[in-house]
Subunit: 436 residues, 2 copies
């Protein structure tokens, strides 16, 4: 096995050779064998051992064992005790998830602190097959069937081509001791059922099962790569990013084969679950929308707009006092100036007759029932009709603010001032508001 | 369950309602329940029962049972006996595969003969999961994980959303009798191991396993659809069809992300297995090739050419006798005419001095060592050098024929005649050969 391990390093993991590595060692068969293999392959490494203090004395014995292992391999070791149970309770996590969180957080700290390049964990072919079967049982897609990744986010698993039997044989042949980790038998019931009940009959049918599964997983990974390439192409073809919001052209989408699958692929990562509602948006009217936990998808005429959900509990009313020069609201800035002459009209500017204003002005989001006298038009108009005529998108509409003098709208910000406050021939003092 | 079945028909299989259906009924639980459901859903159907004569008296009792079922449902029935064991022996097939072949061949005959639209089989969610797990154990790709298709090639499986338990409950509630099919327990050992050992612990973990798997399979099918769309795009971008051979532009291929996966995707259906050899072709010299059972891939300068394998045992020598007007060879036709005047030169035509030819002429494939005096050049040239200079592709090269007069080349067909046989001022009789 040593030779196969060296070949694997040379062929697929050559970046480990010049690197400084942190080996995650529990003291169990897998990680102890990994440490011996890395030593014999002359890699440059230190050990790290987490004491989760979940099994009393046995946990401390594991720690002692791994310390001795470090001495015998003549490498450095870092150990850390964790109050796992307390952490799990506080964070409302299962013990298993809590232990995993603590473990990886500490590993990343060690990488940074000691200028190490990668964490090596001892996951092997059995783990990868078990993970695949667990995902399959719980519902998954292509990604969940590709097994444990060999390298992600500085975590490298160099033992994935080997199965538990290989490791046992190596340990036996090289008279390597290891600690029997009882958590393997008790902690994750389902994984154990997979290990002890589901995998054996499959191995009985195909003695090369692990190699077979590896090929299948490699195969599926390739498929996944292609799918990502295609998704990128679809994205650049169908989606436009405008000010951080995504605009999806519905007609183009409907012309693309397998529209539903494409839409799923485009939106998959935004947390949506109500796919039928989403598909219905393709034939819905402007304003219909579907929410995920973080995002929403809104139909607006010829497009679907994907945007972040509006923040709740946001302050929606502000006062602009006579003495104020500026006002911060909702991430924007409104600036007041007294000027001598009218400037060039722009949507983000309002030129008003100062004396007609009744300070403090109120700034608030528009509401159903709002009406005003749009500059350049005759009479009064409902603000909702005005926004509709202006083809303001449903998402923009939610962010329309109005500046009020008493109960009258002075300025529909970024859209139109009100006739009643415009600068006229007899205006003595011009005030200019700018939205920045 | 009847209502769920009707909903499924209405929503997903509405094309069955107006159709004439053939129900494949063994007499076992699944197919008998299917027949009852179809009756109650008022579909228009007949039954078909295969007697494979594999279990002596029990086989005949099955047949009787299904005949009675037809009577009680008041529908027509077709039955057919098969000499399965003999057929399996003769065709060197497993009994199981032999039975399947015979069964479907007969079903398609019945469809044609009685103007029926679809065959319905009783495969259900358990079968589909088992198939997925079997494929997984034996090595597969995305396609092998999508389960049993609901509709392919006129075979429709309307029970896929239901599992065995659903069918048992329906049979019990409706007091439906069925024949216990012993082959289920004995014939396919691996499927049975999956059924009895692998699936139960998975159901124990997830009581909704079958629904979960169905969602996963639907999910993977969508992925597969997208992958096919992308493959079609890649194909049209990278591959040119020239006279039935596919030319793949190597440079473009190398510029496409995930080159290996793309190449795999393009060539997947042509039976290749030596993928490393194929990837090496991307950096190989002209003439290198890789074979599958049916095809080969040849490097030729800037392209890879995918072509059918040359036929073996093909006749490679023919005689053109003095009295012959034409000669058929290798799917082509060579025509001889005596003409008065030289025509316009073309590659597929040869104008020669009749009196210089020594009949019968011999037509054969070119060979290493061949040499001739190319028209328009001075002296003799090796034919291999000539073909190289003419940039004849490796595949074309194998199909170069020469017309011989004695031991001399008269015409390298479709390329060049020989100086020694050309028409000269003193030529009395011009012969024209045309390749059609």
């Amino acid at each position: 096995m040593l030779q196969l391990f060296k070949n694997h390093l040379a062929k697929n993991l050559s970046y480990l050779k010049p690197a400084k590595l942190l080996l995650a060692v529990s003291g169990g068969l897998d990680s102890v064998v990994m440490a011996h293999l890395c030593k014999q392959a002359e890699l440059n490494f230190v050990l790290a051992h987490c004491n989760f203090k979940l099994r009393g004395k046995a946990s401390d014995q594991d720690e002692d064992f791994v310390k001795e292992l470090a001495t015998s391999l003549d490498v450095e070791i870092y150990t850390q005790g964790f109050a796992t149970t307390e952490y799990a309770k506080a964070e409302k996590l299962s013990t298993q998830v809590a232990a995993r969180d603590l473990r990886y957080a500490w590993f990343y700290e060690l990488l940074a602190e000691h200028e190490l390049d990668y964490v090596l964990t001892a996951h092997h072919a059995n783990d990868s097959l078990e993970t695949m079967l667990i995902n399959l049982s719980r519902g998954t897609g292509l990604k969940g069937l590709t097994g444990i990744p060999e390298n992600n986010n500085k975590i490298v698993r160099p033992l994935l081509p080997f199965n538990r039997k290989d490791l046992e044989n190596f340990a036996e042949k090289n008279k390597i001791n290891w600690r029997h980790d009882q958590t393997n038998d008790t902690d994750d019931y389902f994984r154990n059922r997979i290990r002890h009940q589901v995998v054996p009959p499959l191995v009985e049918e195909n003695s090369q099962l692990f190699q077979t599964i590896q090929k299948t997983q490699a195969n599926l990974k390739q498929t996944e790569d292609l799918l990502e390439d295609y998704t990128a192409i679809l994205f650049s073809k169908l989606v436009q990013n405008i000010n951080g919001e995504y605009y999806i052209n519905v007609e183009q989408l409907l012309e693309t084969p397998h529209t539903k699958a494409v839409l799923y692929q485009l939106l998959n990562s935004f947390g949506f679950t109500e796919w039928n509602d989403i598909y219905n948006l393709l034939h819905a009217q402007t304003g219909k929308q579907v929410f995920s936990a973080t995002h929403r998808l809104v139909r607006d005429r010829a497009v679907l707009i994907l945007a972040k959900k509006p923040k709740e509990h946001e302050k929606t009313t502000f006062l602009f006092k006579k003495e104020d020069r500026k006002l911060n609201f909702s991430g924007k800035l409104l600036v007041k100036e007294i000027i001598e002459e009218l400037g060039k009209p722009q949507n983000n500017l309002a030129f008003l007759d100062y004396d007609k204003l009744d300070f403090p002005l109120k700034l608030r989001k528009w509401q159903a029932g709002d009406a005003f006298c749009p500059f350049g038009m005759k009479g009064t108009k409902k603000l909702s009709d005005f926004l509709k005529d202006e083809k303001v998108s449903p998402i923009e509409k939610e962010n329309v603010w109005v500046l009020m003098s008493g109960e009258k709208i002075v300025w529909v910000i970024n859209h139109r001032i009100d006739n009643r406050f415009k600068v006229e021939k007899d205006t003595k003092k011009i005030v200019k508001f700018s939205l920045v």
